[in-house]
Amino acid sequence: MIPAAFEYKRAGSAEEAINLIGQYGDEAKFLAGGHSLIPLMKLRLAQPTMLVDIGRVKDLSYIKDAGDHIAIGALTRHMDVEKSPVLSQHVPLLAHAAGYVGDAQVRHRGTIGGSIAHADPAGDIPATTLALGATYVVQGPNGKREIAAKDFYKGFLESALAADEMLVEIKVPKMNGAGWSFQKFNRRAVDWAIVGVAAWRNNGASGVALVNMGSTPVLASAVSSALAKGASVADAAAHAADDAEPQADLNASVEYRTHLAKVLVRRALEQASK
């Protein structure tokens, strides 16, 4: 478990980090909490030759009430998201989901920005922010731009981020009292989801996203449109996998995964409807 040789530079600010990444090009990578990147490097599945450490860019670690949404700095640790009173009040689904990321050690190190930038379909945070209709603020050499969560995930571990762009903020709309549920199904307590569901419901509106049901986090639009048309929870849940392309792995066949998605979406909607 020894990574290939690499160089390391610590950035003091977003600008400095983006600058450094620009200098070193394709072979460079941002290092945030390191809890996705370092394991890949140890297996030599990733072999960046330069790591730009953004872990100490302190001014990107915050959770702020910004009126209609909550603004979260990309370097905010999962533990701070989980324990945030602001999020508990306005976006309880996200605070709750963050509590399901790995174990306490992982949550103290891993960052919300790293989770999203890593674009792992099995991650809890990408799907949760997708269900919530979040917007990601990214910064490059030419300034900032915003990408809607639904436009961000392009493929397995692939996102709309350019190589020299850094994710700096996550804007999450307030839930305004919506019912919600986070269902994570796994074999061991501390594991990635075999299938996960993040869902909320507010009158006719709803958002449902699936963890580990394809090469990207999946927005279960068919479920929301069925609900909007007045379908029952059970009937809407039958559409859970309509937008998904699940893969088989050691823990689940395609058939089982599809079945699980339906069961978990139904359970999530039942809970969110209470």
């Binding site: 020894i2 290939a4 040789a5 030599r44 199904f185 074999r187 050691l250």
Partner: protein
């Protein structure tokens, strides 16, 4: 005074904290990889990415130019170094096929992880980097991962032996010829079941690590290794490398678990010694976790066919077993013997007439070699008989506990001579089961189950049990001889009372997490009347403890602990002569208690052991013929195996929508005879139960059809963590073993032996109402769901 009697002020039986733990828990304990040896070269092993392939060429030119690289060797380069192939100490039959196996492959690789080349470099990172620069051309061949396909010999793995079959071993015992067939013909009930013991990865917390340190002059060499078997390793390394045994010293520093996976002689141990001699420099190697999953032995790997015959009351009349054992690519140290360790136990704890037919055929595959893994053969046997007993109960439509009660060997029948000729020392299965049933509140659970498991219920309740017998305490040397094992089963101990009356206990056992230092000190303290903290336990270094056969097979206490008691007796006998001399009385007139010799009937005439130790040291006034110093060595060769037993019960609830099994309660009632330290006993039961439960619900070494291992890290190979483990109720009955002076039996494997079948019986009990009567391990949510679907679809 016999230790098995009730005593006051007894040290044996106290819940003493483990003296090993402060160093382990604070990170101060020194493991092999913590040894800093200046000037050491680092070994890295290039491993085959193919399950089965011919090596066409190996090009090391580029790798040799990498920074820090000192040398690179292929199997051919080192071939002349080996005096013999890697050892297999258990040729179970005279015609057993054992393909020559060397530390690095020669022309062919036979599993993913097979060693192909060895890099020596100045640092660990440089050795690892150089691996990527070695260019090997392979000609891939067909992988063989299915045991039955392997037996067909369609693809031969080892051309030199011309077959994939290693051996067939039979144990047929019949009162009269044809008794087994006759019993099946006349049976009122029969069951015929097929079970798969999936491959398991032992996954010790500390992977393997080796450091070989040559002395500058004279050829002596010290081999440090994360091993369970320093003594066996010393003998085997000397033989395999053709180096004089007296020049080899083997040390096992702190070892972080083994479960059998470090009961072996491995390629890297031999490579480190050979290369350190070649280069005149220390050579070290540390295993990576992924390497550990591929290149350290796996466990289990059997297809079991078991048939039971019973009369109209369910009384067993015959047992027939056909096994196929997965040896993996090569035979490691005791690989072929593992199924034999279970061969005598397929009738479990039941009073079976002499009608028993066991046959095991073992076969090579292109997967990691298997070998002994916690329980070795006995969890497999227990699983087969106990799951089959539930199948029989279902067939007879009677309660599975009732069926067991009709078949238990009764307390009065002990010592019990079994169909196999083995004698079960002592036991009381009904008492253990009754105790477990009490904890479970069996009748109440059955009642709740009847109301809960109605048609359409989302959550179904199940309760399962196992009564087990464990043949352990390996082993009487003569019995091992009859099984063709290549060594004895004795254990040695030396007890030395120092001039200041502190005590050294030297043991040939080699702990790697079991707490021997604590327990062995308690035994010597009890025997000698010395405080445990005044006793040091020395072990795991062949220069300090030259005689020993190490730690495996729940043998350490039942053989090694008893050896310590025997050595203490010899010390006391000698001290008695000196005491009698000092007190001017006959030795027979002295009694020894609480560390003091006193004249029977006149207790003011007394002398403490401490004074005798000093007298033995000064030797100023010893009786004629008594040598100075107070020390004795004793070797214990057990008369019999020891036979721990117990009853386990598990209660599960299954979510039929997702297939997830939730273990609500686990009850383990074990009987390991006299307990030296109940705290340690409970710890062993907990760990063992978790490992058995892990086989039932979580763990499986998964290979694809190309022979690639898919579970190469702890995210893929699901070792349950603390939060995944249900509350475990432990309780005990105490039936002393009559075959050793401590009355002990051993508890290292008990939990593992009882747990897998207990959990699976509970799972099937929950689902049988849905038509699921058969389920392979692990009962993962996917597998459970699939079985429910299949059963429901079939309706």
């Amino acid at each position: 005074m016999s230790i098995t009697q009730e005593r006051t002020n007894s040290i044996i039986g106290q819940r003493m904290l483990r003296r090993e733990d402060p160093a382990l828990l604070t990170g101060e304990a020194k493991f092999t990889n913590d040894l800093v040896i200046p000037g050491a070269l680092h070994l890295a092993v290039l491993r085959s990415p193919y399950a089965h392939a011919r090596i066409k060429s190996i090009d090391v030119t580029d790798a040799l130019t990498m920074p820090g690289v000192i040398a690179i060797y292929t199997g051919k380069d080192l071939h002349a170094t080996w005096a013999a192939p890697m050892p297999c100490a258990w040729p179970v039959t005279p015609d057993m096929k054992n393909p020559a196996h060397f530390p690095l492959a020669l022309d062919k690789v036979c599993y993913v992880g097979d060693g192909v080349a060895a890099v020596l470099a100045n640092s660990e990172t440089e050795s690892r980097d150089a691996l990527d620069a070695i260019d090997v051309a392979y000609e891939p061949l067909q992988a063989v991962t299915d045991l039955e396909v392997a037996l067909s010999d369609k693809t031969i793995i080892h051309e030199a032996i011309g077959t994939n079959k290693s051996y067939t071993w039979n144990l047929k015992v019949e009162a009269t010829e044809g008794a087994v067939d006759e019993a099946f013909k006349n049976a009122a009930f029969t069951v015929s079941e097929r079970y798969i013991q999936q491959r398991l990865i032992p996954m010790a917390m500390e992977p393997r690590a080796v450091v070989a340190v040559p002395q500058p002059f004279g050829g002596d060499i010290t081999l440090y290794s994360a091993t369970q078997v320093p003594h066996i390793l010393k003998v085997m390394t000397a033989i395999t490398l053709g180096i004089p045994e007296h020049q080899l010293r083997v040390v096992a520093p702190a070892v972080g678990g083994g479960f059998g996976s470090k009961l072996d002689v491995y390629a890297e141990e031999l490579l480190c010694v050979a290369l350190s001699r070649k280069h005149g420099a220390p050579v070290r190697w540390v295993e990576e976790r992924t390497e550990n999953t591929q290149s350290t032995i796996h466990g289990r790997g059997q297809i079991q066919n078991i048939e039971l015959a019973a009369d109209k009351d369910g009384k067993l009349t015959a047992v027939r077993v056909r096994l196929i054992g997965d040896m993996g690519a090569y035979l490691q140290l005791v690989t072929p013997g593992v199924p034999l360790l279970g061969a005598f136990l397929y009738a479990g704890v039941y009073d079976l007439p002499v009608a028993y037919d066991f046959s095991c055929t073992s076969v090579f595959t292109t997967m990691t070699p298997t070998d002994a893994y916690r329980g070795a053969g006995r969890p497999e046997a227990t699983y087969a008989i106990e799951v089959a007993m539930d199948a029989l109960a279902r067939k007879m439509k009677i309660d599975p506990y009732e069926l067991r009660k009709r078949n238990y060997i009764k307390k009065e029948q002990f010592p019990y001579t079994a169909f196999s000729g083995l004698t079960y020392d002592s036991g009381d299965h009904l008492a253990a089961a009754e105790k477990a049933m009490g904890h479970a509140d069996y009748a109440a659970v059955r009642k709740k189950q009847a109301t809960q498991n109605v048609a359409g219920a989302r959550k179904r309740l199940g309760i399962g049990m196992t009564s087990y017998f464990e043949m352990c305490g390996l082993a009487p040397s003569r019995v091992l001889a009859s099984l063709n094992y290549g060594a004895g089963g004795w254990e040695s101990a030396t007890v030395r009372v120092l001039p200041t009356s502190k005590v050294q206990v030297v043991t040939g056992t080699s702990p790697h997490g079991q707490g021997h230092e604590t327990s062995w000190a308690m035994i010597a303290a009890e025997k000698l009347g010395v405080a445990p903290e005044d006793i040091d336990v020395l072990h795991s270094d062949t220069a300090i403890a030259p005689l020993g056969l190490d730690t495996y097979g729940s043998r350490s206490l039942a053989v090694g602990g008893v050896a310590i008691a025997g050595a203490c007796d010899k010390v006391i006998d000698k001290a008695r002569l000196i005491a009698a001399h000092q007190l001017e009385c006959a030795a027979e007139d002295l009694e020894f208690a609480q560390g003091t010799f006193s004249v029977k009937g006149s207790h003011d005439k007394a002398v403490p052991l401490a004074a005798i130790a000093f007298a033995a040291f000064t030797a100023h006034n010893l009786p004629d013929g008594v040598e100075p110093n107070l020390e004795a060595q004793y070797t214990h060769d057990p008369k019999n195996f020891s036979w721990p037993f117990g009853a386990h019960i598990c209660i599960v609830e299954i979510d039929t929508e997702t297939g997830k099994v939730d273990v609500l309660k686990y009850i383990a009632v074990d009987d390991c005879g006299i307990q030296i330290n109940p705290l340690i006993v409970e710890g062993q039961v907990h760990g063992g139960v978790v490992q058995g439960l892990a086989q039932a619900l979580y763990e499986e070494a998964v290979y694809d059809t190309d022979g690639n291992l898919k579970t190469t890290n702890l995210a893929e190979y699901l070792v349950p963590a603390a939060c995944d483990v249900p509350p475990i109720t432990t309780d005990f009955t105490v039936t002393p073993s009559p075959t050793n002076q401590l009355g002990v039996k051993g508890v290292g494997e008990a939990g593992t032996i009882g747990a897998a079948s207990t959990v699976m019986n509970a799972v099937i009990d929950a689902l049988s109402g849905l038509g699921v009567t058969k389920l392979d391990m692990p009962a993962s949510p996917n597998n459970v769901w699939k079985a429910i679907q299949a059963a429901q679809g079939g309706k």
